[in-house]
């Protein structure tokens, strides 16, 4: 046993912190081991020198003084208003995020095939072309409908009907998964100021 560990146990014996069984075991060891016994005696000597009796040092006068100050403290001691993630959310956010990542992965690699790089570049090209067509359609419709609010509304309705082929299918799944993850996280937060005052 290392001396630090021995000192800790020896000190625990001197201050009555060991169980009866542990105390008997250590005492038997001390009886048999002169080195440990000498070390134990040193601990006892230091404890006797430095352990000033404390009984009655504070007394009721300290209690009264502290309580008078405590009564003057505005407000009261309160539980922490800490926002914590509850265990369900802590467990749920990772799978939800993983689901979102898988859905994105399927969307990226699926239609174009041939791996991530090809899928990414082809999908980007498709997305760019679709976006350009979609913007052109929307602008044309807005122009045709004029500048009035009602026309703009009709144009937006028409634009909503325009489908963007690059974002079909999987992107909705990915968005839904991400949304679900966000809802899970938000729902998982709770305030721990549990007890009302």
């Amino acid at each position: 046993m290392h001396w630090d560990e021995h000192d800790e146990r020896s000190f625990a014996l001197l201050t009555g912190k060991l169980s009866d069984e542990e105390a008997i075991e250590l005492q038997q060891h001390l009886d048999a081991c002169p080195d440990c016994r000498a070390r134990h005696a040193e601990e006892a000597e230091l404890l006797a020198a430095l352990d000033r009796p404390t009984e009655g040092l504070a007394g009721e006068t300290l209690v009264a003084a502290v309580m008078a100050d405590v009564e003057a403290v505005p407000g009261r001691a309160s539980r922490p208003q800490v926002v914590q993630l509850n265990p369900w959310a802590a467990r749920a956010w990772l799978p939800l995020l993983a689901a979102a990542a898988v859905a994105l992965s399927v969307w990226w690699s699926g239609p174009a095939g041939g791996g991530w790089a090809a899928a990414l570049s082809s999908q980007l090209a498709v997305a760019r072309a679709s976006l350009a067509a979609w913007t052109a359609d929307w602008t044309a419709m807005a122009q045709a409908a004029g500048e009035s609010g009602a026309a703009a509304y009709r144009a937006s309705q028409a634009a909503a009907a325009v489908r963007c082929p690059g974002f079909d299918g999987c992107v909705e799944v990915a968005a839904a998964a991400l949304l679900l993850a966000c809802i899970g996280l938000i729902a998982g937060f709770r305030r721990t100021s549990a007890r009302s005052h």
């Binding site: 430095l50 009796p53 040092l57 100050d69 403290v73």
Partner: protein, 185 residues
């Protein structure tokens, strides 16, 4: 006293429950502070300040950890500030075992001769502690006056346990060496 229960009641707004916490730790806290600052009156004042500060910060106390090291950490910081301020004052010589404290000790002990012997010994111990490096003095006091184990000292002093062990061994050696020069010991 069920300490967690008393702290729960304090947090629920029952200020009177804090008296139980003060009663449970007051004596030992004054004892430790007396060793750290070398003066009983200052120790009582610092203990009072410690308890009030702890009450104000009770909402910051992590209930998963033991309360005592948290409380003594506040006390030690106040003691360090007190010693620093005292060193800056011109009359700031440490008042180890002041006359007032010695007179009280004598009055509390039945035999005047025994009181003198005891008080001289205590004064000698305080002198030796005052000569130690502050961190060595603190680990010795937390160990032998507060009866803290390594982990509790580490929490109170915000140190790794390995450092506590090293400092404690060095502190013991220094204390023994310095104590040899004191006749009363």
């Amino acid at each position: 006293m069920s300490e967690p229960n008393a702290i729960d009641r304090c947090l629920a707004g029952d200020r009177a429950a804090y008296a139980e916490v003060v009663r449970a730790h007051g004596d030992q806290l004054v004892g430790v502070l007396w060793r750290l600052v070398g003066n009983r009156e200052d120790a009582r004042d610092l203990a009072q300040e410690t308890f009030v500060r702890a009450y104000r910060k009770l909402h910051l106390y992590d209930r998963r950890r033991p309360f005592k090291p948290w409380l003594f950490r506040i006390a030690r910081n106040l003691a360090l500030n007190h010693l620093t301020a005292r060193r800056r004052r011109p009359e700031g010589q440490p008042q180890l075992a002041s006359e007032k404290a010695l007179a009280r000790l004598a009055s509390e002990t039945k035999s005047p001769l025994a009181a003198v012997a005891t008080s001289e010994r205590r004064a000698a111990i305080d002198r030796v502690l005052a000569k130690l490096r502050p961190q060595y003095r603190d680990v010795l006091v937390l160990r032998y006056q507060a009866h803290f184990d390594y982990a509790e000292i580490a929490t109170t002093m915000d140190l790794p346990i390995g450092t506590v062990k090293t400092w404690l061994n060095r502190a013991k050696a220094s204390f023994r060496q310095l104590a040899q020069g004191e006749e009363a010991l």
